[in-house]
Symmetry: C2
């Protein structure tokens, strides 16, 4: 006899065209059968929503994707509820690619530990998770941000931007947020400590950068692609560094943006590096050892936007892809 | 009474549209009057012809240009024929921006020394001059070419390419030339020591790269822009380095090429740097101290294409801009 465990899941109903809409998703029960021997059953506590998922559901993210009828993929923090593995006992909190659902069975090698010192598990999905690691890889490892730098960060109050801003401030750099709307501008300067904030809708970006950074931008963390990329690139100081990390416009499938003319990189003597956070998995422990204690000591702001219940995920994701989020978007799925 | 010194010069007759033609230039006598006190009179020995001059005569090279009616600008090696300056005595050979003419009067601060050990002054315009310094800056300083690298060099037998290939070989890298025609292919592999050669007209570049560099290209020295830039970028290995240095298609004014999509740099985890050789003037002595002795010892190939007489300069330059040169193009103006 097989036991069934009810398991609410969010399924891709159809591939979105352009910006995703809530009806591209549907909620279904996808019950789990008996757990296979050697697998570990996990109950999702928090689900991370990230812009790169837009290309996953388009079917073309770094060579893998989700098809209509599949559970949406995504990183979660989960609690082990069934296990025979002594290294992964019941009750332990882990990180894994659980997807948009309440339960999954995982092989032990697919589980990552969550730092034991972490009192709030959602942090393992935000400033101490992939967005935080991305910010650290981009600003500390690749751009090597230092005192005196003038750093521009778009998507400024999102998961990556929030941590990037704090890393830059700790390095003694000056930070300029690009965001939109009075609430996000307030979060940027009051909560996250950006020195300056440019509204990407209300302000003329080129003019605002000329005024805010009259000596030029020395570091740009590109999370969005064109037209912001080209506009900021034109304002680089000589020897400026650009970390290319995200292309939110392309994720929505609007178009393939071209990026700046190569002559601009020559004229600016720029150093441009591509960042894929997966390359930094091996350095995650180094990152955690430095920043978990700071987070626990209250010296880092997480700025999470937590939504309640799996059913809230589609709306929250659609808002995220429209830039309507006010922080790193996390969905509380279980307790 | 004023003395006049006859001075044949090449003048810009009109701005070229697209590829330059010989009738965009004219030869004129521009006699020199008395030398001003404090100036040094120089007789041109060799004139360097370089692709960047195409943007100079378009009026838009790094913020300066040459207008119709002006003598064409260009770097020369010259002998001092009149001087009151003890540091720059008559007979000394110097490098300066003499332009396309037989004589110029220069302020001492506009003169650069030519290494005394140099037995062939034209080398100060080729592998030991700006092209050589460019190759060293790109391959040694920026790309940091090392053993095991697979390096692609377009414009492979030109001034920069010739020295770049030899620097890469000395570092233990494998080199792939991109050039055209049987004579240049022969020069690339037999004279300059490239390991492989791709004909940019007869071969399919993408296919040839896949075959020649099955593990990908680790370093690309971009001297030409698109479409070569994008095709090679697609063949980069993970972590590949690209030095952006020239945009020969744009110099001809054909179009502003866009360059690779930024997503490609991300996927490849590429490091892309812009190179302007003027930034390396302060390191020229370091460069010369290493490579002048090697050149004198016959351990470096110059591969110069020397044309005789100033009147040959327009044709030689027009051929250069059509890729018809077989080496670094130098014009012998005087003895």
């Amino acid at each position: 006899m097989t036991n069934h465990l009810d398991n609410m899941a969010v399924i891709l109903a159809k591939r979105p065209e352009g910006l995703p809409n809530p009806d591209d998703f549907k909620l279904e029960n996808r019950p789990l059968g008996d757990r296979l021997s050697g697998q570990v059953r996990c109950q999702t506590l928090y689900l991370s929503l990230d812009p790169y998922m837009r290309s996953v559901i388009a079917g073309n993210h770094m060579g893998h994707g989700v098809d209509p009828g599949d559970v949406i993929a995504g990183e979660v923090v989960a609690r082990i509820v069934e296990s025979d593995d002594a290294d992964w006992p019941v009750g332990k909190v882990v990180r894994c690619q659980g997807g948009w659902q309440q339960f999954t069975d995982q092989p032990p090698e697919a589980l990552s530990r969550v730092p034991a010192a972490l009192s709030r598990p959602s942090l393992a999905l935000s400033i101490l998770g992939m967005p935080g690691l991305t910010a650290w890889a981009g600003m500390v490892q690749q751009a090597k941000v230092r005192e005196g730098d003038m750093v521009v960060i778009p998507a400024a109050v999102g998961g990556v931007g929030a941590m990037a801003a704090q890393l830059c401030k700790r390095a003694g750099a000056t930070t300029i947020a690009i965001t939109s709307g009075s609430e996000k501008r307030r979060i940027a300067t009051e909560t996250l400590g950006y020195d300056h904030c440019i509204d990407r809708i209300e302000d003329d970006l080129a003019e605002a950068l000329t005024r805010t950074a009259p000596n030029g931008v020395s570091v740009y963390f590109d999370l969005v692609g064109d037209p912001t990329l080209t506009t900021v690139a034109q304002q680089l100081s000589i020897g400026g560094r650009v970390v290319l990390c995200g292309l939110i416009k392309d994720y929505n499938g609007d178009h393939k943006t071209a990026g700046p003319h190569p002559g601009l990189w020559i004229t600016k003597r720029a150093t441009v590096t591509g960042l894929v956070v997966y390359d930094y998995e091996s350095q995650r422990q180094v990152f955690e050892e430095e920043f978990v204690p700071l987070a626990e000591a209250g010296e880092l702001v997480a700025n999470e936007e937590i939504h309640d219940g799996l059913a809230a995920a589609p709306d929250a994701f659609c808002d995220l892809m429209r830039g309507r989020n006010h922080g790193k978007v996390v969905v509380r799925v279980g307790e």
